[in-house]
């Protein structure tokens, strides 16, 4: 199946948006303009973008504490995300969510989640609803390798297995849960094999290759839409930065980091696009510059937005 040039450039742009958005976030964080904590997704852009490119706008995703990338890839507006991070009234959650809880219902994004594995049963429920209603929608459930060791992961995959739910469980295996390497936390080498226990096919994909992720997820989404049930995909990738703020990354070597940086998913995709004569260096540069502008606009929008209103602090507890 051939991707159009337009779609590939959209994918490239989304990856660049995620990278630059996060670099801006990192900068603002260091300037103490962002409160609390945040978990950067830099290095994993190909997974979110490849996966979301295989979905329709009204398909669902659930995300994790490391959710900015999924949110952007699913189509959220960066200015409202930035406003949320700065605690503004114009943010997606009106300053009640922050980095870990951004949700954008209008693009089918049911939300980032501050609890490891928090979204897994929720995604399973969204898929159950789609199955019951026959609405043809598919849910992608993003989660980390660490989340795969929570009990709810196993309960939910079992449910998806028995009910043949239209869902793709997408494990982003970035080799660490905070400081704990997968080999110390997880009894199997490949998390994908866990699908077998629940009669769900498990597939491994190179998480730094956006086209590979796209093809793999597309196939799984197709299976789901045809009523053939869930797929567990394990995307092997790497987070470049620390787990969250102030993580000196003492648990891994700089050499290892360097090896992964050499497989920068954005550079990799750029060279694929140029090698295949889909885009010229100039075209890509233009996209980069356009994204720079968007990020600046997002920032301007956010800092100039009114702060969250203390008078309304008890709003939205109950519907």
């Amino acid at each position: 199946m051939e991707l159009s040039k337009e779609k590939m450039l959209w994918m490239y742009q989304k990856m660049v948006e995620i990278r630059k958005f996060e670099l801006k976030v990192d900068e603002l964080f260091k300037k103490n303009m962002i409160w609390g904590t945040c978990h950067l997704y830099i290095g994993e852009e190909a997974t979110a973008v490849g996966a979301c490119a295989a979905l329709n706008r009204d398909d669902y995703i659930t995300s994790t504490h490391r959710g900015h990338g999924h949110c952007i890839a699913k189509g959220a507006e960066m200015k409202r995300m930035m406003a949320e991070l700065l605690g503004r009234e114009t943010g997606y959650c009106k300053g009640r969510g922050g980095s870990m809880h951004i949700v954008d219902v209008s693009t089918g994004n049911l939300g980032a989640n501050g609890v490891v594995a928090g979204g897994i049963p929720i995604a399973t429920g969204a898929a159950l609803a789609s199955k019951r209603r026959g609405d043809g929608k598919v849910t992608i459930c993003f989660f980390g390798d660490g989340a795969g060791n929570e009990g709810a992961f196993h309960e939910s995959l079992n449910m998806a297995g028995i009910w043949k739910l239209p869902i793709v469980y997408l494990c982003e295996n970035n080799l660490y849960g905070m400081s704990n390497p997968v080999k110390n936390s997880t009894a199997v080498e490949d998390i994908a094999v866990r699908g077998q226990a629940y009669n769900i096919p498990g597939v491994i994909v190179d998480g730094n290759d956006v086209l590979a992720v796209y093809e793999t997820v597309k196939e799984a989404v197709g299976r789901a839409r045809r009523g053939e049930g869930a797929t567990l995909i394990e995307s092997k990738t790497y987070r470049w930065m620390g787990h969250s703020k102030s993580d000196p990354r003492a648990y891994r070597t700089r050499e290892e980091e360097q090896e992964w940086k050499e497989r920068d998913p954005i550079k990799l995709f750029a060279s694929q696009l140029m090698d295949r004569n889909i885009a010229t260096e100039d075209e890509l540069k233009k996209i980069d510059e356009q994204v720079d502008e968007e990020i600046e606009e997002a920032y301007e929008f956010a800092v100039n937005s009114p702060k969250a209103r203390v008078e309304d602090i008890t709003e939205y507890v109950y519907a």
């Binding site: 501050g114 897994i120 049963p121 449910m159 939205y316």
Partner: protein, 326 residues
């Protein structure tokens, strides 16, 4: 209007809600052909196959999947076989269902009902017998109700299903076979409104769930001692109908609270503080008394189990003590 058991009234509410709204369905363990651990859905399966989803024994994901269904516009009713097992699902009740609306600035809502049989008196001992409404009443974002009569259980379940918030719906196991008048067809009992079950002028008994019929019987017996007790069924802990309680206590000047939960930090202490914070304080002419379960896990032996929570004679004694003091 005809006389029905609590369980039949509940089943009637379920059937009517299933028929009324295609988004309503129920999931839980053994609720299909088996008919549920307490028989609430007994006999319903042939007609409502599509509405009764048998799940694996996976409380966390049953509730979590309920949340997911609710987020995308369905109105799931989740049955937890015994309310004790809600502990397995705490994450998705407390950290997810209760908070999603707030932390997303109102973008999401969770119209879900969790039905949970609670309470002791069946000899099932500590892990199948506790009453935990107060535990959930402490969590902002949840509504917590405990209907005491067949009439209320039908009307309140309908109200809960139609509510856009997560509602924890506690059914006391000993109430299932109690009887009362239940109207045919559709009606709702608003969540957050207490009921004056018996008017009286001498003292207000504020009770919930199984303690309501016990308090009503106690009130009848108290007539023999010349005490005319008013009985209030609190019905809903969140939201709590403070107004009705304050009004009654302002009239009688005396209050006793009778609850099924254990005492320490129970909902009775919340009622007491609400009263003390209110105008009723000026009218109180005796200290408020609290009768609640002992602060112990529910024991097995029948004598111990019976002594663990207030019985009718305890309520009578408790009220009399207030008057005897004078």
């Amino acid at each position: 209007m005809s006389e029905k058991t609590y369980i039949d009234a509940l089943a009637e509410a379920l059937r009517e809600e299933f028929d009324r709204d295609e988004n309503v369905f129920m999931m839980g363990e053994d609720i299909g052909i088996y008919g549920g651990a307490f028989g609430v859905t007994k006999g319903m399966y042939p007609k409502y196959k599509d509405k009764l989803l048998d799940t694996p024994i996976s409380e966390a994901s049953i509730v979590g999947a309920g949340v997911g269904c609710a987020l995308v516009g369905m109105r799931p009713i989740v049955e937890i076989m015994f309310s004790d097992f809600m502990m397995d699902a705490m994450e998705w009740i407390v950290n997810q269902a209760a908070k999603l609306r707030y932390m997303t600035g109102g973008q999401l809502k969770v119209p879900m009902v969790i039905r949970a049989p609670m309470g002791c008196g069946t000899g099932a001992a500590a892990q199948h017998s506790q009453s935990l409404p107060a535990l959930f009443a402490h969590i902002p974002g949840l509504k917590v109700v405990m209907p005491a009569t067949p009439y209320d259980v039908k009307g309140m379940l309908k109200a809960a299903v139609r509510d856009d918030n997560p509602v924890i719906f506690f059914e006391h196991k000993l109430l299932y076979w109690t009887k009362g008048d239940v109207p045919e067809g559709d009606y709702t009992v608003p969540i957050g409104k207490a009921a004056v079950k018996r008017e009286g002028k001498d003292i207000t008994i504020i009770a919930g769930s199984i303690m309501v019929p016990r308090s009503m019987e106690a009130a009848e017996k108290l007539k023999e001692y010349g005490i005319d007790a008013e009985v209030i069924d609190i019905r809903s802990l969140v939201p709590m109908d403070v107004e009705t309680i304050v009004e009654s206590v302002s009239k009688t000047g005396k209050a006793i609270i009778v609850e099924d939960d254990n005492k320490n930090n129970g909902w009775g202490s919340e009622v007491v503080s609400k009263l003390i914070e209110s105008d009723a304080f000026d009218y109180l002419d005796e200290p408020i008394k609290r009768l609640a379960g002992k602060d112990i896990p529910i024991p097995y032996a029948p004598e111990l189990e019976r002594a663990a929570v207030p019985q009718i004679e305890d309520i009578i004694e408790g009220v009399k003590e207030i008057f005897d003091k004078r």
